[in-house]
């Protein structure tokens, strides 16, 4: 099963894990991405996330499907929030459920590495000096390349 959700509301990690669980599942690996204050003077007021409706859902679905093809993963959940978020709030949840831990761990990392470079979401940081769009990070592109799979953009 694959569950994709793009939403404004907060998500409940325990409830998401419960949904991923079943009798044949021995391992559920999860990842939570948080709003981080990277401003020089710790002055982050909010982070606003926007997305390309339609393309964002399809892209996340494709990434989840690719992970399920690479590893014996039973279920994948990806929840990505959009809208205005405060420091320390959660932005993204990825959960992979499998019989054993290695597939679950690898699946989670793979999904995040592809999400970072391929899913059409953008962040704008609001500090006391104004609002600026966050730039892409070279590290993220390198993280995707380590999977030795084809580049899609």
């Amino acid at each position: 099963m694959i569950k994709i959700s793009i939403q404004n509301e907060e998500f409940d990690v325990t409830a998401e894990i419960k949904q991923l669980s079943s009798k044949s599942i021995g391992a559920i690996a999860t990842f939570c991405g948080m709003v981080r204050d990277s401003s020089k003077d710790s002055s982050l007021i909010s982070l606003t996330l926007e997305h390309y409706p339609g393309m964002s859902e399809t892209t996340l679905e494709e990434i989840a499907q690719k992970a399920k093809k690479e590893w014996p993963i039973d279920s994948v959940t990806i929840v990505h929030r959009v809208g205005r978020l405060k420091p320390e709030e959660m932005i993204v949840f990825v959960g992979c459920a499998s019989a054993h831990r290695h597939a679950a761990f690898d699946g989670c990392q793979y999904i995040m590495d592809y999400l970072k470079t391929d899913a059409p979401f953008w962040k704008a940081e609001e500090t006391k000096d104004g609002t600026t769009w966050v730039s892409e990070r070279e590290n993220d592109k390198a993280a995707k390349r380590r999977w030795h799979l084809e580049e899609s953009n």
Partner: protein
């Protein structure tokens, strides 16, 4: 042709969407970007450095030399920064 803009590309242009009819000479994403660049000061700023912009056609990432038609949905935006 339906054209969507996101993030700072939209901020420069001033609106998120426009429906335009392109001249027949516009055959690729790059030619479309060059055409749009001359539409306003905002467009000019948004399309100033094409290497800093990504494009999608019918909601899939495409290269600058990808062909476009009137029936396509095209989007221009900065490199993605989600997660």
């Amino acid at each position: 042709m339906k054209i969507y803009y996101f993030a700072w590309v939209r901020d420069y242009i001033g609106y998120p969407y426009e429906d335009i009819s392109c001249p027949k000479t516009v055959k690729t994403i790059e030619q479309l970007a060059q055409y749009l660049k001359d539409q306003s000061d905002g467009h000019r700023r948004a399309f100033q450095d094409l290497s800093s912009i990504r494009a999608a056609k019918n909601q899939k990432f495409v290269a600058n030399n990808s062909e476009v038609a009137d029936t396509d949905e095209v989007a221009f935006f900065p490199p993605v920064t989600g997660g």
